[in-house]
Symmetry: C3
Subunit: 342 residues, 3 copies
């Protein structure tokens, strides 16, 4: 692809030889002759100078010899170029005859239903959606348009999934919430989990994620939210729009998260917690209290991020601190004894 | 359903209009006219007064205007009413011809074996059990009566599952324990994992749980224990009766847990630990020593819960404490210098 | 099996009755008459004296009355004997006609492809490999010789797996890396994940593990590394040879781990971290900085193991320490007031 064409693709301003042939895109460290790279952070300018890339996408005018394409967001331009160079993997459209389709199922246009897909009764599948092998969809569930569900995903009954959703392999949507009544004899009686699940448009759900159905009412993941792998979403949780949650995080029953929330990996949130908009949680935090909008929290139990940073550097000093205090105590006892003997 | 009938169902004492028509059950916040709600905790009495529910289930005589049903355990009554209002999802009984059934398999009465189920040789499946699509059962395993196994569950060979068990999608039962011998050249030689797994009656296993088989002998989860999603049960673990374990907890090899144990989410227990009956572990605890019966533990490394609470409120004070001690030290040095100069 | 034959099998030196008939192998606590056991650690010598085992495998000359087989590594001998007593589970060789095989697929000799396996186009499967039911393999992927893939494993397109690999049920290899560009309006634009995955020879991957494909280039797990269940390997991670990682650990994007690394359960490593050879990470550690070779780290944030041990015993003393310092402060104020009044 000519550099000129790439500049058009990313709506960028080209400075340099327009006719260079670009073979692909690579990160700064790996880029060699013929490849375009991108500078998303000025910290890597030094690396860029050492790079053998033939062109670079930048956000500001920087002083490098190779041709530049200037854009507002080089990382976004990178995403666009990747898409251009690597066409999406080919999908076999149609409903394979080795799939099992239940009664009363409505299937849209241009879908791809692979062999060994199981679709229960009264399911709706929107136009252009793709169901890979070993996907199971329970009775009465709905899949919107252009949604991709990878192999071995289990969708229970009454799960309502929007359009442009991506669900990776091994995810489970609509399993029972974890609710029991403790009886006098110590046994646990199951509370029927009769609610449902809503996954709104543009959500991405990572591999082996679990989203439990609500006890009553609904568990809901709102538009544009992205979940990494192994995330636990318990019954009746609400996650706001455009949130991003990293792998192995667990959100307990009935938590309500605002929009634009960012959560690191292995975070835990106990049940019935409210978290405001645009909150950021640092990896491995343990949240046990509500958090207001726009706060950054970290640690177990979670505290303000700046305080947490201080405690992090303080904790390794603790053994030394204990020694110091012991020394001070002895010194004071000595002083008071000296005084008495005076 | 008439309120009178609901009172009968939950064996409760009705105070108010017996003939109100009840449309369903809802939580206090959501309940509207025509719905019954329940008060499990007096803390929510204020909410109840604001609720538009048409009836309420309570444990004590409380002063509200709407009709009341008095029962010993409102939460249990709630579970019963849910069951009455929401009939269980319909199951297609019979052995689907698109399932694969091995040699020497014994299948009980009234089972439901869905399309795309794989049953290995010499397996037994009890009366009334349900195997959803993409369930795989290895050679020689047994499933008791009235057990439900949701889609995409993998059960290896020689796994013995009791009756009234529920296993949610994506769970893996009987995978190899994690055991290797380190060789002189740094490589790791696999130790054959030749043991088996027992899941006793009335156990519930959450989505994407793993229960490894024993190296030798058995891994066992005893009667009535409930596991949430993403729980790791390593080889040779024993979990006692009626225990409840929340999501993302990991229990390492050869741990022995008593009965009635309650474990929060994201807890980790290192290998060969003994935990007594009725122990409670707070979420995110890290257990590195045995714990006696009836104790409540928390923190990393796990300590008594009351001590942990104190350390939790102490840790954020640590940076300030370090400053204080530094100040005291300086003060003391000053004092001792003042003394010398006296 | 005669004891003499067992001694030959493990290349050991037999001291005692060569002709005893051995029925099997058991751990010290469980071993009864007719069984052989092993002593891997002298700590258990006392238990051995109480054991009713008929023979024992030891590394040193110890003073016990029952017949002994002396070997260099009793644990390895144990593994060999287990293998001899418990033959591997029988596998049905051949390509089952109820499997779906894509176009251009190359299948080696003596493979076992079970019913309900889905193999995409242009896949290669090496000699002697086993694919259990509900395994899905994406277009262009390769499986080496004698590799075992258990049921419900999802392998995406362009995943390259070596020989003698074992992948347990529910594992997902090649799902998209977690990468998005945040737009001005708060939404997140997906970055195409166009890289691939390499799993080298002799790797074992636990149940429900996730290995994400690289954004560009590759995610790679090198020869002989063993992963326990529920491990998250993010995009572009490199894990060196002969490493061992315990369950529920998460390794974030672009981390590079050396060879011979040992990681405990529930460890978290943030993105772009470099970890040297033979590093040991204690369970539940949170790594936020690079770690040099041969170090042992623990805690959140991870610190040197010996320091961590000290802080672990210091933390429960913190509430008491705060009280002490408060007392000292009061004492000093009193002293200074006494002085003034002097």
């Amino acid at each position: 692809m000519k550099l000129r064409k790439i500049a058009e693709l990313v709506c960028g301003e080209l400075d340099g030889d327009k006719d260079i042939e670009i073979l692909g895109v690579k990160q700064i460290e790996e880029a060699t002759e013929g490849y375009i790279t991108f500078l998303s952070n000025k910290r890597y300018l030094k690396k860029l100078r050492l790079s053998r890339a033939s062109a670079v996408i930048v956000s500001d005018d920087i002083d490098v010899e190779i041709p530049k394409i200037r854009v507002k967001n080089p990382y976004l331009a990178f995403a666009k170029i990747l898409k251009a160079f690597y066409p999406e993997i080919e999908v076999k459209r149609g409903v394979d005859k080795r799939a099992v389709i239940g009664n009363g199922v409505k299937i849209g246009e241009e879908v791809a239903i692979y062999p060994f897909v199981y679709v229960g009764d009264d399911v709706e599948i929107g136009d252009g959606s793709v169901l890979y092998p070993f996907v199971s969809i329970g009775n009465g569930s709905k899949i919107g348009n252009n949604t991709i569900i990878y192999s071995n995903v289990s969708i229970y009954h009454r799960v309502f999934i929007g359009k442009n959703v991506i669900i990776h392999s091994g995810a489970v949507i609509g399993s029972d919430g974890f609710g029991f009544v403790k009886m006098d004899n110590g046994t646990h009686q199951k509370i029927p989990q009769v609610g449902f699940v809503i996954i709104e448009d543009d959500v991405e759900i990572g591999a082996n994620v679990c989203v439990d159905r609500a006890t009553m009412d609904k568990t809901i993941i709102k538009r544009g939210t992205k979940l990494d792998n192994f995330i636990q979403i318990a019954h009746n949780v609400v996650i706001g729009e455009d949130s991003v949650i990293a792998a192995q995080t667990g959100i307990s029953g009935s938590c309500r998260l605002g929009k634009g929330v960012t959560i690191g990996g292995q975070v835990g949130i106990i049940d019935h917690i409210n978290i405001g908009d645009n909150v950021i949680l640092i990896p491995q935090a343990g949240v046990m209290k509500d958090i207001e909008s726009n706060r950054v929290f970290a640690g177990i139990p979670a505290m303000d991020h700046t305080l947490w940073k201080k405690t992090c550097s303080a904790i390794p000093k603790l053994p030394e601190l204990i020694r110091k205090v012991r020394k001070i105590e002895k010194g004071l006892i000595q002083m008071s004894e000296d005084k008495k003997s005076d």
